[in-house]
Symmetry: D2
C-alpha cells in the first residue's frame, strides 16, 4: 500500500519536507499540496509532480484520495488544521510548535483523546537525529550515572525583523524543551529567563538565556541566539554523575589555507538536520502504515507549549515561573 | 514508472544494498533476489518482501519483469554476469571490483562499446560520499591551487584468513585507485608497493603501502591495513599548492568518562559509508529512469583493475611498475 | 639582581609553585619556605634546596634576606599574612582567593592604598593562560563585535567531603569571576545561583550553576562541578555579535584503540594550567624587579570576593542578588 | 653553580635559543655570543645582556669564562666548531644537522670517542616535545602492540629560493629520521625518494616524499613540503598492530566567524615547538651540571646524516638505496 500525502504550506519548511518525501521515502506518494501563496504551490507542484490544491487546506484534509496530511503552514493555523484532521481521523504530521499557546494544544489533546487513538505527530525532528539518539542511549546505558544538567545552545545566522524574544522561546527554544524532556524523561517544573545584551541591542534576534529545572532536580539551560551571525549551530552537552556526552555537528571535510584550519558551518538547519528530517518522514509514513505512533505526540506538543508560556511570563516579569502541567491522559502513556 | 530491481548475491554487501533500496529509494521495487546460499536468499526475501529466484542469477537477469540488476556476488562471477546483463541490454550496478583482472574488465568494456550506450555502473560508492565530494569541489574551486599529493589510508578491523596482500590491493586499494582518479582527473602511470612488517607478521591482513604517480606528476600514496584492529577508518588528505583538504569521518557524539574524551569508530564500512550507499542507489535508479549514466563506468572499473594488476606485479617484484592503459573508447568521454 | 623568594605553605599548590620557580624562573632564588606541617616543609626544602623556616610564616615575611613572598597557605590565613607583607612593604603573590570575605579583601585594599603603591598580586593565573589571552585578544580585535555572553564550565575530578556548595562559589567559581571581569572589562551587577541535583545528591561537590549579569548587559554563566569524575576540564566560550571564540584544552596526542579515538583529560589543574603558572611566576618576578605590577590586583581580589558573597546569598535565598562594589581607589586605575 | 653559556650564531634559530635561555633557564647565564653579522651580534647582546664576542667563534669556545657552547651557525661550520669544542672538552649543544655529510659527523664521533665521554648534544628538540614523548610512551606501554608504520608530514609555509629537494632531505627530513629512530628504536635499512609535482613546479620547496624501511621491518614515510603555504604543520601517526597514536598540534583557542570554525596554524616552528626548545635547553644545562648526557648524541647526528645521504642518492638515481651504518662505538650504548 502506498500512503498518499498532502502537504499544507510549502514555505521553506514545507518545501523541504516535500523534497524529502519525494526523494527518500518509498511507500509514500506526494499527492497534493497547497499554500496561501498560489505561485509557491504551483512551483512546488511542478517540481515534485504533485497536484496543487490551490490555497485551500481543507481541500487537502478532506480529500478521500489523501491518506495523511503534513502541516507546515504558519503556527497560528496549526490548531484548526490539526483539529480538522482529527475530525476525519486522518494521520497528521504537524510542524512544531503544535500551536502557539498551551490551551490550543490542549484542544488538540482533548480531540485526540476523544478519538481514542494517536493520530497526531509533531515535527520535533531532533528525536530522529543520530546525535540526540546517541545522547539518549548514553544516558540509558547507565555508564555515566544519573543526569544532572543539560546545556543547550541554539544559534541561527539571522532572524527576521519581526522575530522577538518571545518567539525565541515559543519558536526556537521549544526544540530544546522537547528534546530535553525526551532525553531526561522528566517534566520541567520552573523556568527563569535572562536577556543578555538587552539594554544594548534590544531588538529582534538578540539572545535569550533560559534556566529550567525538572521534577528530577536536573538543570537545563538553553541559549537561543537567532542573530548569531557566524553560522547555524546547535550544541548540547548532557552532564551526568560520572561523565558527559555531547553532540557533534556533522562536518564532512576540513580545509587548511592561509594559516587557518577551517570547518564549515551550515547557513541553516536543513543541512544540520537533513538526516533527522529524512528519518522522521520515513518513521511517520511507517507509523501511518502500521498504526503504531512515532515521534512527539500532541501531549508532547502541549508540554513544550506550556513551558514556553511560562518562559514568556518569566521574560515579562524577570523572575522564576513555576510550570504546572495538566494531568496526562492515559492515551499518552 | 517504477524500476523493478533484481539483486544477485545477498551476502553482507548485497543484503545492505537490499535494505538500502527498500528503505530509501522511491521509484524502485526490489522484485527478486538470489544467492548461491538458498537460506540467505530466503531470509532476505522474507525480510524485504522480494521474491527469491533461488540460486540462479540468470533467472534474475533474463526475467522480463526485472528492469535492472544489482550484482553483489563474488568477484569472480562479475564478468560473466555483467556480460549477461549487457547481452539483454539491462542496466546493471556491479559491485567493485568490476572483475579481478584488467582483461576481464576489457571484455565488458568491449561488450558495452558494442552496445553503444552506457549500461554498466560500478559500485565505487565513494564518489557519492559527501566528504569525497567536498574534496573534489575544493580542488575544482581553484582556491587551493593545483593538486600535488593525495594521502589515503584505508583500515579495516580484521581480515579473514584468506585475505592476502594481493587482495589488499585488488579488493581494498581499488577504492582508492578509483577515487583518486575521480578527484584528480588523471591516470596513474606507475606504482611501487611496500610491505611494512612483512618479515614479522607476514600473514593475512598485514599492511600494504603503495606509492603511485599520475600523468600530471601527482603522487598518491595508499595504505591499506585490513587488520588494523582499532576500527574501520578511511582517511584522505589532498595536498595542493596553497593548502590542503581532508576527509572527516562522521561522528555524532562524544563521551567524556574516566579521564578520556572518546569518539567512536564504526566496526565496518556500512556506518561510515551509509550515506554514500544510499545516494549511489538513488542515483543509479534515477539513471535507469533517465538513461543518463551516473557513477563509475566500466572503463573506470578497467582502469582500477589495471592499476591493481601493476600493484600485484610490484608486490611480487619489489620495484616500480609502469601502468599503461588501453586507448579509451569514445563511449567513455 | 636575584629575587630571593620565600613560600608560605607547601601543600599541593605551594609545592607546585616551588617547583615552577626553581625549574623555570631565572633571576629568582627560592630562599626559604614554611608550612604548618613541618614534615612537608622539610621535604620540599630538601627537594628544592631552600631553607626551611619551620611553621612560622612571619619568619619568612620579616626575613631581610627575603625579597618577595608567595602565600599558598589556607584561605583563612591570607588576610593577615598579606597585611604582614604590606606592613614591611614586601611584594607578595597571594594564592586566590585573596581572602574568604569581601571585607577582609577591603582591609588589604585599604592597607595597600595607604602604602601608595601596588605590592600585592593575586594568583589568578588564568590571566596568563594562552587560551584566555587569545580569547581576550579576539574580543579586543573587534572582528567579532561586542561581547554578549560568556559561558564557563569548571570541573574537577573529585571534591573533598568538606567541599560544599558555598566553597564551589568562593573557591572555584572565583576563577571565573576574575577571568570574566578581565576579559569583559566590566563589573558584575547581579548573580543568581541554581543547584542542579540538589535534592538528589545534596552533598559535597554537587554542581552549582550561576547566572551573572554585568554593567554592560552581558550575561555570564558559570557551572562549577567539583565531583565531575570524568576529568579536570575547564571550558569557556565568549559569544559576540558576529561570532564566538572558545578555549581549547591542551592535548598532545590522541590514541585509536578498541573502536575508540581517545584524548586524555588531566586529573587536576596542574597539567591544564602549567603554562599559566609558569608565565605568572615569571611575570611576578619581573614585576618585583621592575616595580611594575602584573596580574590581578588586591582590588581584583576584592571584586571577586564581593561577587562570591552575593553568590552565597543567592544560594541561601534562591533569588537574584544585586552586586554593588565599593568605589575603586585611584591606585587601581 | 651557574653554567656560563656562549652562543655561536644568532640568526633566527640562535636568537630564539638565546631568548629561551635567558627567560626560562635558572642555573644558566648567557655570557657571550657572536655572529658573522656583527650588527646581529650587537643587537642580541643588547637584548639579552650578554657580551658580544664579535664574529669570532673561537673566542667563545676558548674563553675560560664560558662553560658550555651552543652552535647555531650555518650547517657547514658545525663540524669544525664542534671539533674545537671537543678539543677543549667543553660541552656543546649543536643545532641539527650535526654536519652536512656523514663523514663529517664521523669525524666528530671519532673525536668524542677519543675524549672518552659524551660532550656533544644535537639540537633534535623533538625528543623533548610532549607530543612525541607521548607517542613513544604509548608504544612502550605495549597496549598498542608492535609498531608497523610511522607516517610523518613536515610542512613549512615557504622556502627560500635556494632551498632545493636535497635540502628538504638534509635539512628538514633529518628531523623525522631522528625522531623515528628514537621512537622505534630501530635503524633504517633503505630509502626510496619520490618527487611529486617535479615535472610541474620543479623548483625550490616542492614536496619530497620518502619511504624508508627499518631493521625491524617497519615502514616510515616522510613528506617534507617546504612551500606548503597554508601554515607550519608537523604531523605524525604511529600505526601499531592494535591501534595508532598521533601527534596533535597545540591550539589554544578556536573562533567561529562567517560560516567557518577556525583553528590557527603557526607561521613557523617556533610556536609549534616552543615547549620542546625550552625543555631541551633546561635538559642540556642540567646535563652540563650533572655530566649525564641528554638528547641526541653525535652518533644520532651521524645516523641521520647517513640516512640523508642515502636519500640524496635515491633522489638522484630514482631507486631504493640501502643504508649501512658504521659500527656503533661503545660510548654510544
Amino acid at each position: 500500500m502506498t500512503v498518499r500525502v498532502g502537504i499544507i504550506g510549502v514555505g521553506v519548511m514545507g518545501s523541504d519536507h516535500a523534497r524529502t518525501l519525494v526523494a527518500n521515502v518509498p511507500g509514500a506518494e506526494l499527492r497534493a499540496l497547497c499554500d496561501a501563496d498560489l505561485a509557491s504551490a504551483r512551483a512546488m507542484a511542478d517540481e515534485t509532480g504533485a497536484k496543487t490544491a490551490g490555497s485551500d487546506p481543507l481541500a487537502i484534509i478532506n480529500d478521500p484520495a489523501i491518506d495523511a496530511v503534513l502541516i507546515a503552514s504558519p503556527d497560528n493555523t496549526h490548531r484548526d488544521l490539526t483539529l480538522a484532521c482529527l475530525a476525519v481521523q486522518k494521520p497528521v504530521l504537524c510542524e512544531k510548535p503544535l500551536a502557539p499557546t498551551a490551551q490550543e494544544c490542549l484542544d488538540i489533546v482533548a480531540a485526540e483523546t476523544r478519538a481514542g487513538r494517536r493520530i497526531v505527530q509533531i515535527g520535533y525532528m531532533r528525536r530522529f537525529d543520530p546525535a540526540y539518539v546517541e545522547v539518549k542511549e548514553a544516558l540509558r546505558s547507565g555508564q555515566l550515572g544519573r543526569a544532572l544538567m543539560l546545556h543547550c545552545f541554539h544559534r541561527n545566522v539571522s532572524a527576521p525583523p519581526w522575530f522577538d524574544a518571545g518567539m525565541a522561546i515559543t519558536n526556537s527554544a521549544v526544540h530544546e524543551f522537547d528534546i530535553a524532556r525526551w532525553i531526561l524523561e522528566s517534566e520541567f517544573t520552573s523556568v527563569r529567563v535572562f536577556r543578555p545584551g538587552a539594554s544594548a541591542s534590544g531588538g529582534a534576534g538578540s539572545p535569550v538565556f533560559l534556566v529550567l529545572e525538572t521534577s528530577s532536580g536536573q538543570l537545563v539551560n538553553v541559549e537561543t541566539f537567532n542573530n548569531a551571525a557566524y553560522g547555524y549551530d546547535v550544541r548540547g552537552e548532557l552532564v551526568c554523575e560520572k561523565g558527559t556526552v555531547s553532540l557533534r555537528s556533522p562536518v564532512n571535510s576540513e580545509t587548511s589555507h592561509k594559516l587557518i584550519q577551517s570547518l564549515p558551518y551550515p547557513s541553516d538547519w536543513r543541512a544540520r538536520f537533513a538526516t533527522a528530517y529524512r528519518v522522521q518522514m520515513q518513521a511517520w509514513i511507517k507509523s501511518v502504515l502500521t498504526g503504531s505512533p512515532a515521534g512527539a505526540s500532541a501531549w508532547d506538543g502541549y508540554a513544550s507549549a506550556a513551558v514556553a508560556e511560562a518562559g514568556l511570563a518569566s521574560l515579562a516579569e524577570g523572575r522564576s515561573i513555576a510550570i504546572v502541567l495538566n494531568r496526562r491522559p492515559a492515551l499518552y502513556g
